[in-house]
Subunit: 193 residues, 4 copies
DNA sequence: TATGAATGAGACTTCATTCAT
DNA sequence: GATGAATGAAGTCTCATTCAT
């Protein structure tokens, strides 16, 4: 399995750094190779093409992420509480890796439609996770019984994503983790009193 | 004033069509010129360069948009009602121009950081509009008194944007305007019952 | 005769200023028109094309120049003295019109081979003038009897031209007219004592 | 060192041929690449941009030239004799490479001011060489003791350059090397007998 | 496995010139 | 005669990918 060879991860991590520091459009394959300490051609022994690096990057990082959250959420069965864990974990992950935060919130979005479609496929796992929480909430009666799950999920994801993006655009200069209680409260209770 | 000359709008509208149909990265200046029915060089009598077309496009369309909403919102002073108008109008605008929807929700986001920064400046006007509604709501007591305006605005915008993007990704095959009551309700009341 | 109409000279003088201030490659027809206070299209009522402006410019200015020198040289029949007048007059003309000096010594030389060939044709008149002086000098016995007229002319012209060009490149910051005695002496006596 | 790789010189020599045969303004990079037998992109592995080719070309060829002359001039200490070597060598170099003669005497002079400034820097070395000869001549008493070195150098260079340019303009149809005694005699003794 | 020199397609922009008014 | 908006051809350079070593 290629993914287990040491250079696979080496190249992906190099890609994160190079994209974060140079921006998506200046992240040439040769720069990634240099950062990883391998020859340009070596990249193509592990990845089909440049797109493949980006998608693998997202798969690798996002996959870990979903697994982590699922584990953490296992501690409770209360959907509201699970949502809290979700928001906290999401923000925590971004806060833990500043480079990755830049890459996922800003740079990777400049990729072309093709790549973005395939990234969305990876994202689906995360969205299913959200759906599960919401579904659970409706079934256990802690969330509104006539909740439109799809819309609700879009609110949850859209809100978390926008808060995260704003934080990155503002150079991550405040603590995003401290925002989770406020975000959680807004999602659960809405704008009204 | 160049913006008042007929070809200015002609070219911008051509750009919307070409970008929507070919994607951001395949929207060559020559294609836009052809679609507008002018010579390549004519573009440069009205725009400094290709970037300038894109930014002007966004300014022109978004500017109109903010003005329209402000006018509609003038009918009521109730923040909750104003929010409803906001969501409805936003979705309506996207539904009214399928090409523009693709361009603003998908294609323009692939532009480089420079352009995106300048697009964000235009977007700010819209965000200020949201802030005004929320501020009004807090002051008149219809919204939660301890609302974090910035977070709340990020929820409102993030949700609307995510709903819109999903709709475009799914080829606009359902009615987005019919979603406004649900979105509005979610924003105001949250996920709980 | 087009050359007698007021706008003909107006445009040529505008061209001198524009080329001197912007350099040959940035001297667009539209700039020349603006400087002359006429419309772009008007240029083409007086000149066949852009080349024609440049060649006419040279003809006009250089023609006057040769006539002036011939007149001044008529005062004496001594070739050595005539050569002195030649050098002095040449330098004086350049000192009198700083813009023209830049144009003839630096900018016009960047024109393509075609234009330069035609400029050389105009220059020929000047070279014939030099030949006449030298021929006269040989015949009257004041110059070396076995002088190779062509080579001698190339030395005279090459020297004057190089001194002038160096002066322009150094921003005309010293007096070129004061150099004429030295140049004259060098040409006549050579480097030896 | 890039300059030592075989393709570096290959491309420079191709540039000389292409510029000589097509003229400066029609010497596209693609033509140079074709002449050199490499891909367009390969050019940019060895040169920063098109300007860089031209400047390198001049540096390379002119650098060799100055070294050659210095070596030849080492045989004698007599300034008059050294001057003879200088003129002969200069003409010999041009006669040896007809393409290069066209490029340096005619085509490269059409380059823009930027390039010409940098070419002048290379040329300076040559001018210093001339200055050294003249200085030596004055100090050893073979040249006029009150010689203005700068003016004298301008006469030497201006004369050589003008003779060379005329020869190239006339399609190199006579032998330029045979002119060196005449030119040398003129420079040393002047026009008088 | 690993290397890295070489490849070559593809698009933005300028500006001399025209011609309907 | 005068205008100036419109035209459209043409060239530099980047960078993902390959393949001989």
């Amino acid at each position: 399995m290629k993914k287990d060879k040491p250079k696979y991860k080496l190249i992906i991590d190099a890609a994160v750094v190079v994209i974060a520091e140079n921006g998506y459009h200046h992240a040439q394959v040769s720069k990634i190779a240099k950062q990883a300490g391998v020859a340009d051609g070596t990249i193509y022994l592990y990845f089909k093409n440049k797109e493949d690096i980006l998608i693998s990057l997202f798969e690798e990082k996002m996959g870990q992420f979903v697994q982590k959250i699922r584990k953490k959420m296992a501690d409770t069965e209360d959907a509201v509480e699970q949502l809290k864990v979700l928001v906290e974990s999401h923000f925590q992950m971004l806060a833990d890796d500043h480079h990755l935060a830049i890459v996922t919130q800003l740079e990777l979005r400049q990729s072309n439609k093709d790549i973005r479609m395939r990234i969305n496929k990876v994202l689906k796992e995360y969205l299913v996770l959200v759906d599960d929480v919401l579904q659970n909430g409706v079934e256990t009666g802690v969330l509104s019984e006539d909740l439109d799950i799809r819309l609700a999920r879009q609110m949850v994801f859209g809100t978390i994503d926008e808060v995260a993006t704003s934080w990155v655009i503002n150079d991550q200069k405040y603590s995003i983790t401290e925002l989770s209680p406020g975000v959680h409260r807004l999602l659960v209770k809405g704008l009204c009193k």
